[in-house]
């Protein structure tokens, strides 16, 4: 890494606004506005503006696209902390450059998940106040709010902050408008020998502490569904492990896509090497294969021996109302796995194909969550209610578009105030001026 220009300019385009970046920000802002308008309409009219309706006599699904995306966003957050923790715990140094992108992905997607929950509540403001005030640990939701949204997010923020202090200290040496901010972030960190030692120790133990939190947090989200005895299709021990695995699939897939975008935007081909993508690709391949295995086990159990209502749900998924979503999920996951296996087999990896696989698994991940949430409500009533239907309304689509826009916006803004990749080298003999 060159050291000469760093004395005058901040690395990775921090602090310099380009035309392209502005265009992207405007697009992201426009998407965000769509979401804000959708939320305003929904708050004013009530959830009647969505496509959700009561289960049973009203023939609807009471959880819909919002919960689908809550699960999706929480799943995506898997990548960041996993990668960061693995780098620290297992010393996978060649993954280091993506660590910060991954952590940022975790933090942003967790915030998006929290907003999606708030949008789903009938009484959003009351929810913000009462969820902490009257929290009941007996409810599986408690885990979602404490472990996932609070604990996981808090741990990620602490890790993110501490891990970036070295870079903040380096950036704070560059004069400019952002110097104050970087100095605040560094909080007195001087990068002396002793401080470096402490820095590594702290991040190592934080990483160790975060790994169990990661498993429990994603399992807790699975329990929200898996513990409901009155809901065929949900009530299954496979939910918790399934959530952890699919979280890994979507998280690592999206991480590969974002890292490729950053690589293109910043021209950092030397730092973000093909080896690193290879590693992400292999991880994605293994996790997707495991998930396909879980899906196969689930279907075989349900088709061969499940009780009546579960069979109805799986019939609706395999060749009924939800067939196109189901087979699109299976198809996209299989295609992604095929792409990855082909590359692993021939040994010729290409970033383009890894990114394609990363995008394909996003389709699979979103649709699979939709298939988890909805059919059990519309087709899974234990009493003989008529079958229901659910299709999201424009308001729901708008809000999700807004959330995605907000996520992109947060990424773009962060890129301009702080280096998106690690600047300081780990080796103590590395040059730092």
């Amino acid at each position: 890494m060159s050291t000469a220009p760093r004395t005058e300019r901040l690395p990775y385009g921090v602090g310099r606004v380009t035309g392209q970046w502005l265009v992207l920000v405007l697009i992201a802002l426009a998407l965000t506005v769509v979401g804000v308008v959708a939320f305003a309409i929904e708050s004013q009219q009530g959830l009647i503006a969505t496509g959700m309706r009561n289960v049973g006599t009203m023939g609807g699904a009471t959880w819909g696209l919002y919960i689908t995306f809550v699960v999706y966003f929480v799943g995506v957050s898997f990548a960041g902390i996993t990668v960061a923790a693995l780098i620290r715990v297992l010393n996978w140094d060649y993954l280091k450059p993506v660590a910060r992108i991954a952590e940022l992905l975790t933090i942003i997607s967790l915030i998006l998940a929290a907003i999606a929950i708030i949008a789903d509540l009938g009484q959003s403001l009351r929810g913000l106040l009462y969820l902490p005030m009257y929290a009941r640990p007996q409810s599986p939701f408690f885990g979602t709010f404490t472990l996932v949204i609070a604990g996981y997010l808090f741990a990620s923020l602490v890790y993110f902050y501490l891990d970036a202090r070295r870079d903040a200290a380096a950036c704070a040496k560059v004069p400019g408008r952002l110097q104050k901010f970087h100095r605040w972030w560094a909080a007195g960190y001087q990068d002396t020998e002793e401080e470096q030692q402490r820095h590594y120790r702290a991040s190592f133990w934080l990483a160790i502490a975060i790994v169990p939190l990661l498993i429990t947090a994603h399992s807790t989200l699975g329990f929200v569904f898996g513990l409901q005895v009155g809901r065929p299709g949900w009530f299954s021990a496979i939910q918790a492990p399934g959530f952890v695995i699919l979280a890994g699939v979507s998280g690592i897939g999206l991480l590969a896509v974002i890292v490729a975008l950053v690589r293109r935007a910043l021209g950092t081909q030397q730092t973000l090497t093909l080896d690193m993508f290879k590693f992400l690709g292999k991880g994605l391949m293994i996790l997707t294969l495991v998930y396909l295995y879980l899906m196969a086990v689930e279907v075989i159990t349900a088709v061969y021996a499940a009780e009546h209502h579960e069979q109805i749900i799986f019939e609706a998924m395999l060749w009924g109302d939800f067939a196109w979503q189901y087979w699109l999920t299976v198809g996209s996951l299989l295609l992604a796995v095929a792409l990855l296996i082909w590359q692993a087999y021939t040994g010729r990896w290409s970033i383009g194909l890894i990114v394609a696989a990363g995008l394909l698994v996003q389709i699979g991940a979103v649709l699979k969550r939709f298939l988890l949430v909805v059919p059990s409500q519309t087709h899974g009533q234990l009493l003989p209610y008529p079958q229901g239907t659910y299709s999201p309304s424009l308001i729901e689509y708008g809000l999700i578009i807004g959330l995605v826009g907000l996520g992109i916006l947060a990424f773009l803004l962060f890129m301009k105030v702080f280096p998106i990749m690690e600047v300081s080298q780990d080796s103590p003999e590395g040059e730092r001026t």
Binding site: Q45, G127, Y134, L382
Partner: protein, 246 residues
């Protein structure tokens, strides 16, 4: 402390829906909401077809899945066993609704439309100690706090964005009346009383007839017992393909 429960005699039910109507009038539930619902079932094929009816109130379970999952304790079980909703506590996450095996929860997707209920009804004698269901107007008793818990029970309010469901007409039970559906049934198919009291009508019926409860396999332990029939099996079809959508 009484242990309230309901007994529904399927042999007596003729599917007149008087209970459903009484509930709507008494509790002024919004459009598309049926705290009491009556299934019409079709069984077997011609010429062996059998059509029968099954009223479905809230089961007020002893091991209520909805109470377990509520993240803020808005859904709670009263001392007398009535499962009620504190609609001032409810945040509208609808977890109770997906947790309930019976599908008895209704969310207020919107504020009730204008003119759905009369608010200009002046009937002072109806407000004080009548023993009949009220006309569809703003019954102030629905809004009150009840029981040892001194909490709202989901009558009244009809606030946008909260869950509500059958309350066993807590506001009537607290005033020594039976729920409106029981009161209005012309067939004496619905009975309400204290399951712990040997002399109560529900205990006597349960002592005489064989009974069953719906979906025992979910271990929700409902307090609504059915007599004179059997639980709907897998090949029972609901005749009314009704989607009371709003």
């Amino acid at each position: 402390m009484p242990r309230y429960g309901m007994v529904i005699d399927l042999d007596r039910c003729i599917g007149c829906r008087a209970c459903l109507e009484a509930c709507k009038v008494e509790n002024k539930t919004p459009e598309g909401v049926f705290w009491m619902h009556v299934f019409r079932f079709e069984e077997n094929t011609y010429p062996n077809t059998k059509v029968w009816f099954m009223p479905r109130p809230c089961m007020h379970c002893d091991n209520a899945p909805c109470v377990k999952v509520c993240p803020v304790g808005a859904r709670f079980k009263r001392e007398d066993g009535i499962v009620a909703t504190d609609w001032q506590r409810c945040i509208g996450c609808r977890y109770c609704e997906v947790a309930c095996p019976y599908g008895v929860n209704y969310f207020n997707w919107q504020a009730p439309s204008d003119g759905q209920y009369r608010d200009d009804w002046v009937y002072p004698e109806d407000m004080q100690g009548n023993d009949r269901p009220m006309p569809p107007w703003d019954n102030p008793r629905l809004d009150e706090r009840y029981g040892e818990e001194d909490r709202r029970t989901a009558g009244g309010g009809r606030e946008k964005g909260v869950i509500e469901k059958c309350t066993f007409c807590t506001h009537r039970v607290e005033n020594n009346l039976v729920p409106a559906c029981v009161d209005m049934c012309p067939q004496y198919a619905l009975h309400f009383g204290d399951l712990d009291d040997d002399k109560s009508v529900v205990s006597r019926i349960l002592a005489q007839k064989s009974s069953f409860r719906l979906l025992e396999e979910t271990d929700a332990q409902p307090r609504v017992h059915y007599v004179g029939g059997r639980a709907p099996s897998g090949d029972v079809r609901s005749v009314d393909d009704m989607k009371a959508r709003i």
